[in-house]
Symmetry: C2
Subunit: 324 residues, 2 copies
């Protein structure tokens, strides 16, 4: 696997493949690769003749300078992992290569960018994401680009961006990969201290407790989310948001009466984490429904949580998603 | 020449040419084709194997609804002209094809977009231009795209956009084409009544009078522009702007001590017109210099204007520019 630093070198490397009619897959990353990234690379490897992994910690999408500075960087290690997972090229440009002097352009998606992460981190976060993704797609001109469902809103925003700008690429969303105990894999997990690592699991527990509550027939978003908040605060985690939204528009749902995205963000210590699940409403058949609760009824207790994840094992686990 | 209405048809039509390694030129237009557009098509024809002309009156770049409604539309005539000039494909999509329901993305270039036309027409004008040009380039993926130097700022903004987003295209700027009397060709000229057509020439006279004044050694922007304003107001034309700016940054110049863009915009009746020239400072050799004027000296009279344009003839005239 070659490592390339400039757009010119990347294009030169891909030109013969493109002329030969080979398909190109792009896996855009900010490095600090984990099993989640590797699953994207593997998926690209299955589907494309050439696999490009980009590694660029994009300053434009960090709303907090400290977050940018703390973001883990380990290029040599990443290069090994990417090669093992099947990458042909690692594109690791400098900040100056991506944003040369005089750079003045930005790409913005309204609507879906303004909710959840956009509301919490400000408009510049997704403006930074959209601008750099547009650039990476125009640099590489891949047939397909691979993103993790763990960043569920990012997938929605990028699908909108690609459709709206007529970018000639297929967007593939791949399932979230989790640690055996359920914690969603994230480059930021490396920043967690031992006690925080344990606390971080509360995000997953909260999502799963809501999923269970819904599986028992609760459809009122307010009740579902209240149960999740209880799980989080019991572990001392105060979420930035915990929301049940329509998966394409990201508009808040009052009722779980269709498939919905359940998304959470919280700081654990100094580390900001996000996670999500897709919830489906249970069928209307009476045996699945809990009796209509009275106004004063409290959310049920989930004393037994954390339940082991159904696929819990020593190897990372992947979820089924409404992927590409 | 085929006329295509959808992005899918456009891509399908170009795919075999692209696979065969043929080069593709794109001439984006809003229709109402005139000699200026035809010169772009001819240039594309000289340089590329396939020439695509797009015809799309882009609502997003009109800041005035009345301007959008009045904009001339004559597709059948345009199709004939484009074919005669050498186009292979006319891409004439509907508004719904370009901006389908749910469209939410915009592309913005700061800095160079904010001056001249941007200041006069508001940020949405160039946001509309940048968004649609990005889309047209991503739809067509041409090797080169052709723009008229008459829209000098648009060329600067699009060059910035293409560099910043790594759009894989060469931007070619072609000289302004003028009527024999000097009026810059524009689709909007068709909207001028006879008396207005005469008045419109004041824009060109003003630019040329400034050019002459500069050729005689005047380097102070304030004096040069004052002379231009006199020419305009003498004809009852009150410019939105008349500015001498650096050709790449579009920042105002106090002194004509390097090549400069001289740009003007004015309403003539209900029709908004723009024009520009590139000015070069005269050499420092004494015979070219007018004596340093005193503070109270007024701008010289140009009683003899309009001088016939050096190339004046029955056929349209093209300027030399600092083109691609």
């Amino acid at each position: 696997m070659k490592t390339l630093r400039t757009v010119q070198d990347l294009r030169a490397a891909l030109a013969p493949d493109r002329r030969a009619g080979l398909t190109i897959g792009l896996v855009p990353t900010m490095g600090a690769l984990h099993e989640g990234h590797l699953s994207l690379i593997e998926r690209a490897r299955e589907q494309c003749d050439r696999v490009v992994v980009s590694l660029f910690v994009n300053p434009a999408q960090f709303n907090e300078r400290s977050d940018l500075e703390r973001y883990p960087r380990q290029e040599a290690h990443d290069a090994r992992l990417a090669a093992e997972a099947g990458a042909d090229l690692l594109f690791a440009p400098s900040v100056e290569e991506v944003y040369p002097p005089g750079f003045a352009t930005s790409v913005e998606v309204l609507g879906v960018s303004e909710r959840l992460e956009g509301a919490a981190r400000g408009a510049e976060h997704f403006r930074g994401v959209c601008t750099v993704v547009t650039k990476l797609l125009c640099m590489t001109l891949p047939d397909a680009a691979y993103f993790g469902q763990k960043d569920a809103q990012q997938v929605v925003v990028i699908r909108r961006l690609v459709r709206d700008l007529n970018l000639p690429v297929r967007v593939e969303a791949c399932p979230t990969v989790r640690e055996p105990d359920g914690l969603a894999m994230s480059s930021r997990n490396a920043l967690l201290e031992e006690r925080e690592r344990e606390q971080a699991l509360a995000l997953y527990w909260a999502l799963r407790s809501i999923e269970d509550y819904a599986a028992r027939g609760e459809r009122r978003a307010a009740r579902l989310l209240e149960a999740g908040h209880q799980r989080l605060t019991a572990r001392g985690v105060h979420p930035e948001y915990l929301e049940l939204v329509e998966p394409d528009t990201l508009e808040r749902l009052e009722w779980l009466d269709r498939p919905a995205l359940l998304a959470v963000a919280a700081n654990v210590g100094a580390t900001r984490l996000i996670d999500n699940l897709i919830l489906a409403p249970v069928s209307e058949s009476p045996e699945h429904l809990v009796p209509a609760p009275t106004r004063n009824e409290t959310a049920p207790e989930f004393a037994s949580y954390p339940t082991p994840h159904p696929n819990a094992s020593a190897t990372p686990i992947k979820e089924t998603t409404c992927s590409a």
